[in-house]
């Protein structure tokens, strides 16, 4: 079903080839969030069309393959759903013209990839790999988001097409370096470039069809796609060069060298994928038309042969029972279809004519020769390509030739539903290689034009005469054969070196340790579970806030009041009672002293005309005493807490802060508007002489309504607290 | 007839009470303000003739507000009062007499 749908889409996209090749661009926009200027915009140009073809074509084949591969597995449905979601995300990603639309699908691929990598979720290794892939690509994703938003706000547009049109503007802006770094971070993590590359081999925990689709043909190329997409506006600068070329080159070399170290065929393929991605990124970094052309062809060629190889390795796994090539041998005769597919794909990978891989390699040399840092670049490319030749030989020759060896007793080809995909993909590599001009004209040309804005230089072809590129090809094959001949020695040397080389994964592990341990340490300190610490922190914060106000504001301080003797007596009463509360050793001493405070406060209310308040205060005081006297029968005082100077300091700072703030309030002029109104309206309009009561039940009756609600709720809450657990546990 | 009689006794009781209160306050003042406090307190138990709760209560409260004595407790059968006499020394008899021959009859005249 999904395969059929993707096939139909593939055909539809293929039908668009001539239109696009003729230089047209198809746009479709829908409003999405106009208030932010964000639309749901898609755009079909050469670049997106090529990617769309890969996504739908390879997708259809992979789906078909997966349906067969998981035929007996109950999880097939889930797998297909996830693959379909991924395909949709990937398609959306390559078609998007709107920055946010693009990001939506970008993150869509991240999440579906996470779920697919962790498909064998009962294995902890799969879960770990999924998490790693997610974390690393999400770091990039978040950086990308920042970069995209900055880019959009700098240029005033959320459309790639418009941003690209005003590329110079962007490069001239102050935000350009930040934007470029952020976007590159997104691209490099997604496309597994040094130093983020390690997640890709680890992601081989995914089922084989997933690896073939996501980790060779499509998702890992999303970063490349992004760089290509934005190279008109972001590319061409020194920073661009310095960011992409070293990273790409390093990834290329690391991938190609470590590919030889692997014994698991799938893992080996993963490292060769790193090599190819590195090469493509490097070429995009170089940025010349020739380099970009090379990158585009390499991208297509790699997608075809690598997907084929992954799928074929899956066939070996199914047919022979393992992917560990030391345990395999002589499968060519037992599994002829598989052998054919692997052989075809490997030839393309080795860059042998007339496969598309050859075309690509020629172009790569050509592009490298006419770029900055030519000598270094060409040497690196030569070395890694030679290593690729050795790897291709390894994957095609080691398991297939020699005496038959396999864990399964009688290895044989799985059925055609599994074979169809790899055969078609590998075959396509050959066919495309045989008709380079057509590919160049219909596919690569528009791609290059979309990326560079300039038409492709020259045609694609198998034969460009005897030139340096051809010489380098021959050198590649020779060197590759030499390396393959000494393969075991190289592997031993690599094995010996491995322990001494720095682990790139180290920073990730360190980051995770920092997150987990650091968060524990920070949390243990802040959310310590100790209430005294919580309270001390709260009061200290409050004190600090008040002192900020006291020190930064300006105030007119009120004059000192003249106190009558009665007022002094009341103050002494209050202060003495407070002191008694502080030093009380027994419950009764403390409560009675609190009563003293309450009485003093009530006297203040009395002195200044608040009869209702004083009465309420006293009555409440009596009730509180009654409650406390009941409750304290069952609640001990505990030993006396020792003196804590720190707490005392906080308390003093807070008390002083409050006093100063209050004094500053008293230093302002009182606005008696409300009071005057209440005095005037109390009897005349609200028919009551007790203004306080009239405020309570009329002017501000709404307060009182809420307040009695508080009291009812307090009753319920208190009773609930008293009954909770008590009644249930007793019965 | 009886009501009027009772009212009369009640009025007499009230007057007598005010007098007693004044006297007792002055007595307390004397004790409190004398340079060397002369207290020789004694717990005295007093058997009552009163029977109803109201009578006992009135007697007890009266005692508290009158010179030198303070009702501390009532026995569980409500027939004996424990009072605290501020300056009785070793002599229980006079405080006991003050109640059984002074206060209690006056109260009972009102209640019975």
């Amino acid at each position: 079903m999904p395969a059929g749908f993707l096939t139909a889409l593939f055909v539809a996209f293929a039908a668009a080839l001539p239109v696009i090749a003729a230089g047209q661009v198809l746009d479709w926009n829908a409003e999405w969030v106009p208030s932010l200027g964000i639309g749901f915009a898609v755009r079909l140009d050469g670049l997106s069309l090529a990617f769309a073809l890969l996504v739908t074509g390879i997708g259809a084949l992979v789906m078909l393959y997966a349906a067969s591969y998981f035929r007996t597995d109950a999880r097939l449905g889930r797998l297909l759903v996830l693959l379909s979601l991924f395909a949709a995300s990937m398609l959306g990603l390559v078609l998007a013209d709107d920055v946010i639309t693009f990001f939506l699908f970008w993150e869509g691929t991240t999440i579906t990839s996470f779920l697919l990598v962790g498909f064998d979720h009962e294995k902890s290794s799969a879960r770990r790999a999924a998490l790693q892939a997610l974390m690393i690509t999400s770091i990039g994703g978040l950086a990308l988001l920042a970069g995209l938003v900055l880019m959009a706000t700098t240029t005033g547009s959320w459309r790639f097409s418009q941003i690209n049109a005003g590329g110079e503007l962007l490069q001239a802006s102050a935000a350009y370096p930040a934007i470029l770094v952020l976007v590159a971070l997104g691209a490099l993590t997604k496309s597994a470039q040094m130093p983020f590359h390690f997640w890709l081999p680890n992601a081989m925990a995914a089922p084989t069809p997933v690896s073939a689709y996501l980790h060779s043909a499509t998702m890992v190329k999303a970063g490349v796609f992004l760089l290509a997409r934005l190279s008109p506006s972001l590319g061409g600068s020194d920073l661009w060069l310095w960011l992409l070329v070293p990273s790409g080159a390093a990834t290329m070399l690391i991938g190609s060298v470590w590919a030889l170290r692997q014994t698991d065929l799938k893992l080996m393929l993963a490292f060769t994928t790193l090599m190819a991605l590195g090469q493509i990124v490097m070429l995009l970094g170089l940025g010349t038309v020739a380099a970009v052309t090379a990158a585009m062809v390499m991208l297509l060629a790699h997608a075809l042969y690598k997907a084929a190889l992954f799928l074929a390795v899956g066939m070996i796994d199914k047919g022979a029972g393992t992917r560990e090539y030391p345990e395999l041998g002589g499968l060519a005769r037992a599994m002829p279809v598989t052998f054919t597919a692997i052989a075809l794909a490997a030839l393309s990978m080795a860059g042998v004519a007339p496969f598309l891989g050859f075309v690509a390699k020629e172009l790569v040399y050509d592009g490298s020769l006419h770029a900055p840092w030519a000598i270094a670049v060409v040497s690196a490319v030569l070395l890694s390509n030679a290593l690729m030749v050795a790897a291709a030989a390894m994957v095609s020759l080691r398991p297939l030739r020699g005496a038959l060896r396999a864990p399964k007793a009688s290895p044989r080809d799985p059925g055609w539903t599994l074979a169809a995909g790899p055969m078609l993909l590998a075959g396509a590599g050959l066919i495309c290689g045989l008709m380079p001009a057509a590919i160049g004209q219909h596919l690569v040309g528009p791609m290059v034009e979309a990326v560079t804005g300039a038409p492709m230089s020259g045609d694609l072809g198998l034969w460009h005469g005897f030139n340096v590129a051809l010489l380098l090809s021959v050198a590649t094959w020779g060197l590759g054969a030499l390396l393959y001949g000494r393969l075991d020695a190289i592997r031993d040397a690599l094995a010996a070196a491995q322990g001494r080389l720095p682990r790139f994964e180290g920073w990730y592990d360190a980051m995770m340790v920092v997150i987990v341990q650091g968060s524990k340490a920070v949390t243990a300190r802040i959310q310590s579970g100790r209430m005294t610490a919580y309270l001390a922190m709260s009061f200290a914060t409050l004190a600090a806030l008040l002192w900020v106000a006291v020190l930064s504001g300006e105030a007119a301080w009120p004059a000192l009041p003249r106190l009558a003797l009665m007022e002094v007596a009341i103050l002494v009463t209050i202060f003495a009672s407070i002191a008694a509360v502080l030093r009380a050793r027994s419950r009764l001493a403390a409560i009675t002293a609190l009563g003293g405070v309450g009485a003093g406060v009530a006297m203040i209310f009395t002195l200044y005309g608040a009869i209702d308040v004083a009465m309420t205060q006293l009555f409440v005081e009596i009730l509180v005493v009654i409650f406390i006297a009941v409750a304290f029968v069952g609640l001990p005082m505990g030993e006396r807490p020792r003196f804590r100077p720190g707490h005392a300091g906080i308390a003093l700072a807070l008390g002083l802060g409050v006093t100063l703030t209050m004094l500053s309030v008293l230093g302002t002029d009182m606005d008696r508007r409300l009071t005057d109104f209440f005095e005037a309206a109390s009897y005349e309009e609200a028919h009551g002489r007790n203004i306080v009561n009239v405020i309570l039940v009329d002017f501000r009756g709404f307060d009182t309504l809420g307040e009695i609600a508080v009291l009812v709720i307090a009753g319920i809450a208190t009773i609930a607290a008293l009954r909770a657990g008590r009644t249930t546990r007793r019965t | 007839m009886t009501v009027l009689r009772k009212l009369w006794f009640a009025a007499l009781l009230a007057v007598r009470f005010l007098f007693d209160l004044t006297m007792s306050s002055i007595a307390v003042a004397r004790v409190v303000l004398s340079p060397r406090a002369q207290v020789r307190p004694r717990f005295v138990s007093i058997p009552l003739a009163s029977r109803s709760p109201l009578e006992v209560t009135l007697v007890a409260n009266y005692i508290t507000l009158t010179p030198g004595t303070l009702t501390v407790d009532v026995s569980t059968d409500a027939r004996t009062l424990l009072i605290h006499d501020l300056s009785a020394g070793d002599d229980s008899a006079s405080s006991r007499a003050g109640v059984t021959e002074g206060i209690e009859p006056r109260v009972l005249k009102v209640t019975r």
Binding site: - | R42, S45, T64, L65, V72
Partner: protein, 117 residues
């Protein structure tokens, strides 16, 4: 004249309140302090209320201070009784001169002559 009278009542009321205060401060045990608080305090209140009644210009203004006094003499002895009982039951210490007669065993107080101490 009535001003003078009221002033006199008032000041004597204050005096008895002060006496109550000093008594509470000076006397040696909780029972003795209660004597001061209850009697002198009530007296002080009564006198102040009386002063107010003397100065009253209406019946209501006379009745209300009297009600204050009435409520006070109704409740003060009850409070005193309860504190005394609580003190008794929690075996509050008494001044050494305190004696007790033979009837008090029922209240957990051993008979004791003051001379013995």
């Amino acid at each position: 004249m009535s001003d003078w009278f009221a002033a006199l009542l008032l000041v004597s009321g204050g005096f008895f309140c002060l006496v109550a205060g000093i008594g509470v401060l000076r006397l040696g045990d909780v029972y003795c302090r209660m004597h001061a608080a209850t009697k002198a305090g009530t007296m002080g209140l009564a006198l102040v209320a009386l002063a107010m009644m003397v100065r009253a210009d209406s019946l209501v203004a006379m009745v209300e201070p009297f009600a204050v006094f009435l409520f006070m003499i109704a409740t003060a002895p009850v409070g005193a009784h309860l504190i005394g009982r609580a003190a008794l039951r929690s075996a509050s210490p008494v001044v050494p001169e305190t004696s007790a007669d033979e009837g008090c065993e029922a209240f957990d107080i051993p008979a004791k002559q003051s001379s013995e101490s």
